[in-house]
Point group: C2
Chain length 233, copies 2
DNA sequence: CGGACTTTTGAAGTAATTCAAGGGGAGTGG
DNA sequence: CCACTCCCCTTGAATTACTTCAAAAGTCCG
């Protein structure tokens, strides 16, 4: 099997930024490939955190589920992202479930092996600190949004963030490049699919977005931004 | 000035766990002390992230403020905790404001110096990954709570978490060991001080807690736990 | 003992959920 | 190619948990 594509993936991943080529090659040697289709599960909440993955292509959804079955989407992962960070940070089990929402290709490592690599190459550990710091920052802002903003603003922020993280330019505007249902948006913004549906319909009437079955295109990002940032009252 | 107490603090801090004594001594040499009184600010949201601190004693509150002045409490920090993690993770500015709620003593370092130390001693970088991973996990759970639980459960969770992180055993029960107003609890649980007041009054009638001006004692942790975990309906 | 904060409690208002029902699109299989 | 079925989305109406508004009563500190 040709392994050059894997090396390219590693070169682009934030986790390995600044790592010498020789070390990357060594890291690549100890990795394994994993493929997933839409809806397949990579790791399940509560599983022992024994593996770490890097997303090569495709998108995945990270969710947390309560004991009574309610779900929240923590974030989406795309190419270059780390999946299963608990394997790095010493967590015993995965705090969330990671599910593919697309065709996905991932590279995986044994957690203990990756920890040895990090001890030998502190730059990678520093990158991990930066990655977790950025995620912590992002989720902090979402927590603040949840507490201070009304539903419309939260949905606007959610859509803008997704467009930025996973947007694809099209003639009509920026399309979120993976299947995204009203229910998914509701679980990200902390509301119900009904409210999301009403809100998107409203925006569609104003020409701000164009949406359909599991599909959202942002046509007027400016106006959406204005909604996201307007004073709450 | 006697510097042995500082060394003891470093030995106990999670960030420096597993670091050889000789290295700790060196780290201590490059640190400076900082004292704060109730209400004084350590770092302000948006300030350049040039320093890192470890809490030696006292408690601090981490908040985020929106452009229109609304505030959310992200977490509280206590002895051994890292304050100003952005200096580690490469953030340019501090994402939140850190304010003392007590008399506090902290040790501080220049961010660049600490980064050099971490590159030279990967165990510290690994500890930083573990610390950030744990914080990320905790805030994930809070985000989920916000989205799936009603106010009473959220307040219960908040009080239990604070009692666990900063609890002091007393004859009456576990007392949260720093001044904590209804407003503070509201900003942590994502509600208003009125709702917090009503809820606490109700719990007080049931003998679950004992509270007063900026003071909360958990008498029946079991019952509070039951409230925190009862099905939402 | 004045004055500033903090807390309590009632009453009114409302944003968003819940309940309910129907309509469309995409894929499948005859 | 049409019909069937399964999702997903939409939209109205009723309900409600929580906020907002308002006012008064404690409590701490100088």
């Amino acid at each position: 099997m040709d392994q050059r594509p894997d090396l390219e993936i590693l070169e682009k991943a934030e986790l390995f930024r600044g790592t010498p080529a020789a070390v990357l090659a060594e890291i690549q040697t100890s990795s394994f490939r994993k493929r997933l289709g839409d809806g397949e599960v990579l790791v399940r909440q509560g599983d022992p955190a024994t593996t770490l993955h890097i997303v090569a292509s495709g998108r995945l959804r990270v969710t947390q589920t309560t004991s009574d079955g309610q779900q929240v989407i923590i974030r989406y992962l795309g190419p270059g992202d780390v999946a299963g960070y608990a394997a790095l940070s010493g967590g015993e089990t995965h705090p969330g479930t990671v599910t593919a929402v697309d065709e996905c290709l991932l590279l995986g490592w044994n957690a203990a092996a990756m920890k040895r690599i990090m001890m030998a190459h502190p730059i990678i550990a520093m990158n991990a600190v930066a990655i977790l710091g950025a995620r912590y920052h992002e989720i902090q802002m979402r927590l603040r949004e949840r507490s201070t903003e009304n539903v419309e603003r939260r949905i606007a922020h959610t859509v803008l963030r997704l467009a930025q993280q996973a947007g694809r330019r099209t003639p009509r505007g920026v399309e979120i490049a993976f299947p995204l249902s009203r229910q998914d948006l509701a679980e990200m913004a902390g509301t119900t699919l009904h409210t999301v549906s009403r809100t998107l319909s409203n925006w569609e009437d104003q020409g701000i977005i164009d949406s359909g079955r599991r599909r959202v295109v942002v046509c007027k990002a400016q106006m959406l931004s204005a909604i996201a940032n307007e004073p709450s009252e």
